[in-house]
Point group: C2
Chain length 218, copies 2
């Protein structure tokens, strides 16, 4: 099976990369620079791709990202602190991000005559991000298949997982989580306070997986 993987450099897509390799997929990984504040995740994507020795392209779409206003991830808006399901986390929504990334990745898959596009969206994202939910993933898969007269599928095996389930799977697959990046801030280490850091900490704790992350605030 040949698969285009959207590899952000976070825990979810890194685990998905290892999951695909275990299932003998050939991977073409794509990482998007959409002008996110947390550019460090791109370095993490590079490390993961190197560990796995997979094809990897970094696509600079920062000119698009700069037009997608209203998110603390791309604009000069303070990163919200707290639990990742809290209402203020909606400030981290980047308009239409997954549709844009999936459309580009799907075009590459058509071009390469690949079988799948893989994305690490999971149930923990569902509350805040409508473009991580099952109905969206199915609807966009359907539209892209029609638009290309194609059978290429979107593979999102974590739609029913939460981040704890992902950490459990990743531990079994020996994912080098020290080389993944989660924090929404642009700092040197994980801040430990943003919703994304809190979800990461909780996932390792609930999964009984040693958390090797260096947090600025614990």
């Amino acid at each position: 099976m040949n698969t285009v993987l959207i590899l952000s450099g976070g825990m979810d897509s890194a685990t998905l990369a290892y999951h695909l390799i275990e299932k003998d997929h050939t991977i073409y990984a794509v990482t998007f620079n959409y002008s996110q504040r947390h550019k460090k995740e791109i370095d993490s994507a590079i490390k993961i791709a190197k560990h796995l020795n997979i094809s990897h392209t970094i696509l600079d779409i920062s000119n698009i990202g700069m037009l997608l206003k209203g998110s603390s991830l791309t604009d000069d808006i303070p990163t919200p602190h707290g639990h990742y399901t809290a209402e203020n986390m909606k400030l981290t929504v980047v308009p239409n991000r997954n549709a844009i990334m999936l459309s580009i990745a799907y075009g590459i898959a058509v071009s390469l005559k690949y079988d799948m596009v893989a994305i690490g969206v999971h149930a923990g994202d569902h509350h805040i991000y409508p473009d991580c939910r099952e109905n969206f993933i199915h609807a966009i898969e359907h539209s892209l298949q029609i638009g290309n007269e194609s059978n290429i599928t979107i593979y999102a095996p974590y739609l029913t997982y939460d981040k704890t389930d992902i950490a459990e799977e990743g531990a079994k697959l020996s994912v080098p989580y020290q080389d993944t990046w989660t924090c929404y801030e642009g700092g040197e280490n994980h801040c430990g306070l943003c919703g994304s850091c809190n979800e990461r900490k909780e996932a390792f704790k609930l999964a009984n997986v040693k958390d090797v992350t260096e947090y600025k605030c614990t």
Copy 2:
């Protein structure tokens, strides 16, 4: 009504721009440089936007276009000559182009809190391009609405028009067709031989609209 318009610089989107202005829309026009051979259409888009004095952004996604292989529009493949409905015109399909452009335009519309995204796809495109057909437009609209919990619609009023109908409407709206670009070749003038030029010639003829285009070969 506030509308993000995908403005290529061709006859269809130029006519749509004039159509929207007649209906009192405020337009934010977006033109994509996707590494197409016929970059002259971008100059045409600039001229149309200037004529109408509308906001206009040119988005360089040529790094993406270069990954969407297999089309004579972006690759080093000879532009096919002949009628625009002939099978060899499938060489001009750019994988997933409309989904990519619509997803980006939709994200901008969400960000701007606009009402619509407009695109000039028409029935003449249906034979060759699956991403210009009604079922695709409806499916992607549905998926983008779900993915953004949004009511923003995709406005494609030419889905039931052919290019002759568009030329008729454009003549009534006084669209300056001399400032639009259709040809798939990268030449100084319209080649007059590619499927796109043939469709343009036929449309003006059948619509009884004077064709002011300078063709290299008539």
